[in-house]
């Protein structure tokens, strides 16, 4: 029974020679439940019944559904019209019991994680891991030491049952469904994801990870992550995403909510590497109370279209946030990224860094909002936008927006657009590197800032992914 799991050695992963090999084509997996069709009250009730949810959660879902139908389609979104919600599965439960042992998982599901070295990374570097396949958490485990410290890491469905007070207090409150249509859709259909609670003063040494995998075409994934860090605590949460190459598209509409209590520190890292068949919509927001720190770092590498704008509300005196988003649009894809910071208390500080790389027909967009409320005395906001365009067929746009109502605040914005020159390519060629290799080195260089505090294994896999992406000039997708 204790047969060892054959995990893909990270060394093996580094030997992949193409993006196709890395992702693989979509493969069959057994499903227990699949719910498809127009999103109605019946569908919501069925999902809630499958999850054996308390009544208050069903009511929250139904309120969100109502909002979804009433809210207008956001006008600034491009490409979203490709999504036909009626042909997408709103809920897919794979045929797999949730487990704490990789060996318990059916092979076709385990394979998704092994292919990317997840079990090995978990064993060596993580405090806890939640793995979501389709709509459900199939694996969840936390190291024992954390349990002793009172840390909670569990599938969010379990938290709904066990810690209803915490969930009621934070869930869909940091990011309310009324914000926009896709936030409402998310709250109506949410399924899978992780809940983390770090008690007062506890510093979680190793990162916690949630890994999201979409296994097939025309699936919707609406996972939810909620991290609550109590006073003076620290936690680093990493989310990773992947999917195989699909015959048709799939849709991801996830949500992350962070709550950093007084003097708490949350670091949240996203390594998004969906295959080119995923339309990826994110709803990410954190609240930082007095003296608290929220750091978002996001490496947005894959997907067909990505919309991601990690946001922080600085709600207590002296709260700080840093928000680094690096987007790569390599091929006929769109990266619509940015950030939002609301300074709602005195002496708060924010730093937004946006770096984009457009190549091979890719389009990168930065949208940012810095708002400084009246009374947020002596607050400081710093925005840096750096766009790098690697060829003639690619584009980058920057839409910064500042609303400053406090005269003692300081807001600075620096924007820069660079192009890769023929002389730079020739210089690297004279050292033996072809165009794709030269570009991949430049891109990896831009990612440095988000890679600096990740385990080396993550970094080398990511570096390999970038090299593969750029070695297939014109051939990706």
């Amino acid at each position: 029974m204790t047969e060892a799991v054959k995990t893909t050695d990270i060394e093996e992963i580094l030997k992949y020679t193409s993006v196709d090999e890395l992702y693989g084509w979509e493969w069959e997996y057994a499903k227990e439940i699949e719910i498809r069709g127009r999103i109605t009250r019946d569908i919501i009730e069925e999902i809630s019944r499958v999850k054996k949810e308390p009544d208050w959660m069903l009511r929250l879902r139904l309120r969100a559904l109502d909002l979804f139908y009433r809210l207008p389609m956001p006008r600034w979104l491009t490409g979203i019209e490709e999504i036909d919600l009626e042909e997408l599965a709103a809920y897919v439960k794979p045929k797999a019991e949730r487990t704490e042992e990789w060996t318990d998982l059916p092979e076709e599901i385990r394979k998704a994680y092994e292919k990317l070295g997840i079990p090995e990374i978990e064993a060596r570097f993580l405090s806890g891991l939640t793995a979501v396949y389709g709509s459900e958490t199939v694996y969840s485990k936390m190291k024992e030491k954390l349990e002793e410290q009172g840390v909670i890491i569990m599938p969010i469905e379990d938290a709904v049952q066990k810690y209803p007070d915490l969930i009621k207090r934070y869930f869909a409150r940091i990011f309310p469904p009324s914000d926009h249509k896709f936030a409402a859709l998310h709250v109506a259909l949410w399924s899978g994801g992780a809940f983390v609670y770090v008690p007062k003063g506890v510093k979680v040494e190793q990162p916690i990870e949630a890994f999201f995998f979409i296994g097939g075409s025309l699936e919707g994934q609406f996972e939810h992550t909620l991290v609550v860090a109590d006073e003076g605590s620290y936690v680093h949460f990493i989310e990773g995403c992947s999917a195989p190459l699909l015959k048709r598209y799939s849709f991801h509409d996830g949500m992350v909510e962070l709550y950093a209590a007084r003097n708490a520190h949350i670091k949240f890292t996203t390594l998004q590497n969906w295959s080119r068949d995923i339309i990826n919509f994110n709803n990410k927001r954190g609240i930082a109370k007095e003296g608290a720190v929220i750091e978002w770092t996001e490496g947005s590498i894959g997907s067909k279209i990505t919309y991601t704008y990690p946001s922080t509300i600085l709600a207590g005196r002296g709260a700080k946030t840093s928000n680094i988003v690096i987007g790569i649009a390599n091929g006929p894809y769109l990266k619509d990224t940015g950030s939002k910071v609301i300074h709602a208390a005195p002496e708060t500080a924010s730093r937004i860094v946006s770096k984009s790389i457009s190549n091979n027909g890719g389009i990168s967009v930065y949208r940012g909002l810095v708002r400084i409320n009246k009374g947020a005395y002596n607050s400081i906001a710093n925005v840096e936008c750096d766009s790098l365009i690697l060829d003639e067929s690619s584009l980058a746009y920057t839409y910064p927006h500042n609303q400053v109502e406090e005269p003692t605040a300081t807001v600075s914005h620096e924007a820069k657009t660079g192009r890769l020159s023929e002389e730079q390519l020739f210089y690297m060629a004279s050292r033996g590197l072809d165009e794709g290799e030269a570009k991949s080195l430049i891109v990896i260089g831009m990612l440095k800032e988000i890679l600096s505090d990740l385990p080396l294994e993550f970094v080398s896999i990511l570096n390999r992914v970038i090299q593969l992406e750029f070695s297939e000039v014109g051939g990706v997708g």
């Binding site: 660079g418 020739f426 060629a429 050292r431 080195l441 260089g445 440095k448 390999r464």
Partner: protein
Amino acid sequence: MLEVKDLSVGIKADRIKNILYNVSLTVEPGEVHAIMGPNGSGKTSLLYSIMGHPRYVILKGQVLLDGEDITGLPPEERSLKGLMLSFQHPVEVEGVRLSTLLIAAWNKRRGEADLLKIGDARMLRDMRQLASRVGLKPEFLRRDVNVGFSGGERKRSELFQALFLRPKYMLLDEPDTGLDIDGVKLIAENISRIAEDGVGVLLVTHYARILNYVRPDKVSVIVNGRIVDTGGPELAERIDREGYKSYGVIEVD
């Protein structure tokens, strides 16, 4: 042997403009061949053409590397076959550390799929040692390629890269400009050492100063895109005394 045979080159602009005419020269392994000429005579264009810069169009002639015709190859392939160009004004490459560039170039030469792999600790040790040999501190390796480098640091870095990558033939474009006399001596010493190790060196220089420290085996003079004179070290000495007057060129300093 690196051989340039009857090479005529144009540069792509609105139309193709001729810049080199019927240039022939050879560099044997272990030999230093100096190319001298006034400003704008085509020295850099010659090196760029040999290295395969995409804007330089070969109108006639060939470049042969150990007998193999490389005239049609892209620059990265020429590099892998053993050619290397040290630039007079190397371009800044933001985001790419000098060490990263060299690790990638080193792995590429060994057919390693992952260009960033550090499979051999000796490689890093060599890198640090060679950097110090040209007067660069190890911290230098962590800086982005040429970004914020002084003129002298660029020269040292260009030579250091050649020492590390060990080409068969080196194309050096004004390797001593911007250096003080100690810097020139150090660079020259390393060039001589490279040549003694069997590397063929094609050294482009306007002034003869560096040739006081690197003794060339051959000297060719290029004026207006044509080789107008060839000889031994005595030719460099004459140019040092007289400038390019005898070739009908009067330069004002």
